[in-house]
Symmetry: none
């Protein structure tokens, strides 16, 4: 991400605060994603960012605050990417499909962000639990809303809130897990992976084992 980080030397140029902050957070995301929260040291982050440690503290507070800020930023960016990807005013399956595509697209292009969000964040029990639970909660709610909406358009008793939420949680987990799997098998294109998950959650194994497959609408007759 920051190729060829030259050994910093001398005094850093004065930069507008916003730019500095971005610079620092990029470095932090890089380091956190590589080493995890605990193993990452403020020393390394400041080095990668090209500034001195006191600046780090002046700009972004303690290590925990910095981590939380990173999480928030990355999560927001990702959620926006997904939200932008979803095509509203389309039937539920198409909405889901576009959401999945956006998600895997984002992961593919922002590995570091994804790793910070998923791997590092989920394990740190303490002060991030809240932060993260909220982030993840947003994703789950998005999916749950979609499910509820889909149910309502049908003539079936709408699912209970708990049910929708739990199904959404499962779906989100499936996405996360599949994204991780994908990182270890990067040769497959994003679309293929997304379509697998789409088939799993929309058609179910029951159909899949019978050869019934879900296709994007453009390919449908």
């Amino acid at each position: 991400m920051q190729p060829d980080q030259p050994v910093r030397t001398g005094r850093a140029k004065r930069l507008p605060r916003a730019v500095r902050e971005r610079q620092i957070m990029d470095a932090a995301v890089d380091v956190f994603s590589r080493l995890g929260f605990h193993a990452a040291s403020m020393d390394e982050i400041s080095e990668v960012a090209g500034i001195s440690k006191p600046m780090l503290y002046a700009y972004l507070g303690s290590k925990e605050e910095l981590f939380a800020t990173c999480i928030r930023r990355e999560a927001t960016v990702m959620m926006e990417a997904i939200a932008n990807g979803i095509e509203p005013d389309q039937p539920p399956d198409v909405q889901l499909w576009s959401g999945l595509r956006a998600f895997f697209g984002f992961v593919g292009e922002n590995r570091a962000s994804w790793q910070v969000l998923h791997r590092q964040a989920s394990s740190q029990g303490g002060p991030f639990a809240a932060e993260l639970a909220e982030m993840r909660g947003r994703a789950v709610n998005l999916v749950a809303a979609l499910l509820v909406h889909a149910t309502k358009t049908q003539d079936v008793p709408s699912a209970s809130e708990q049910e929708a939420e739990s199904l959404a949680a499962a779906l989100v987990g499936a996405g996360e897990s599949l994204a991780d799997w994908w990182l270890d098998h990067p040769d497959e294109p994003a679309g293929v992976v997304a379509s697998r998950l789409m088939n799993l959650v929309w058609m179910g194994f029951g159909d899949l084992v019978q050869g019934n497959i879900w296709h994007p609408p453009s390919k449908r007759p």
Copy 2:
């Protein structure tokens, strides 16, 4: 779990080695599950175990070895629980169903074990990556095998290995995520949660939104 940890005082009673070892590992699982690998200190583990640190090292080796041993033990126990729960010689859906029931049953009754396995373990990059990847890999392979087997009994082109593996990874992730969700909503019975996941992965949303639901065989005509 061990509320009111009394301050240990005096010399610990002499116990045969095997007993002490189990005692220590139970304590370790408890602490690791609460705090995560890094935040857990050998001091606290030894305190919870009711022994001195040197015993910890004498019996279980370094912190990393201890952690790995915990993971192995918990994973083995869980995998056995699931394997025992699966009813062989049944159609694929029933096998899957029984596996899911066993899984959620285990999680419900062994929260600490589950947390060590899922949350703590997934993030520690270092020497546990291998250990854990293998454990999770076993679970994924179990599911993948089931999928492949299901496909073969049908008259469809059997899924590629990659496809089966990725679907299995997704399913496992869904299970993990749902199990976590469940820990935050403990009022629901295990069976209900398991059945939700079963419906999701077997029927798919496509069916669910139309009111089609999967039922355990005993309820089928």
Copy 3:
């Protein structure tokens, strides 16, 4: 040496790195010489140096690195003192004599340095063996070269390399041992001690017991 080490309190004054480094190494040599490598603790060294342990590590690395650095510094200083003391272009006996004078002069004025070099260093088997063997080796080679040179100016079959080396080793050992003895009998002047060794190795007991004594050239007729 530093009696009444006052309890350090408050923050140490800011000093340029080079100065601090010297200060620390002086302290380290002091402590190592008094206690030996193993018994010396980084805690005590940092206390004597008047700084906190983290500075110790920041500046000089691990305990082993610190020790090795001390050895190197002291050995270099001593070897330079000796090399500077030797008068080249003089007959072998005069060269030897000036070397011995320089050696005892150095030991007399740098007791701590000497003790680190001799007592502490020789026993630590581990990573210093190499370091030290090299240092001592240099001294031995210096003497051996002198011997070989002396032989060549005469009309005798020049000594084998092994022979020269072993004799040099013996001489160096005699010097070391005599220096140690001297530390316990500090009332004798350096010149007297040096002259005793000179007589021993140049004249030999055979002459000594007959009253034949070696004199510095200025006193010769």
Copy 4:
């Protein structure tokens, strides 16, 4: 020394105290010589000795006591070997020669003993200083007495006590150093090494560089 130490198992046979003690001290000398005082652990010593740690303590006290006892025993044995080797009623040079032969003979056949005495012992500042100083002092005195005796048989003013002692110290140091050198060049026979030292200290470099060599009496006309 104790080849093929079998893993001890079960209860040690009851043995008379003296035998046990020897067994333990042999093990201790072995371990101390290999690892040095600090690095040697009571655990390893007890293992090598084939008994349990409490026995170690029961028989030989603390680690320091054990070490001191080892030193004493080895030193005594060595001193006896040398004393036995010296031929009394012979001229001083022959006495010295026989003493040197005995010394190098002992070192060659008891490397472990020698290493404990020389390398390990000299560096441990604390409680062994006394012990060791005394041992070494005995050797020095032996040599000093020889020198004084030699002087008296001549018609020269007998050397001062200090002078004799310092010369003896130098000679002992030369012997030690040469013995160490020999350990690193074991291909040379003991006699050759001894004779080198004899020539150095009896004839002196002054004679050696002129080709004058000391020969054992049997070869003299």
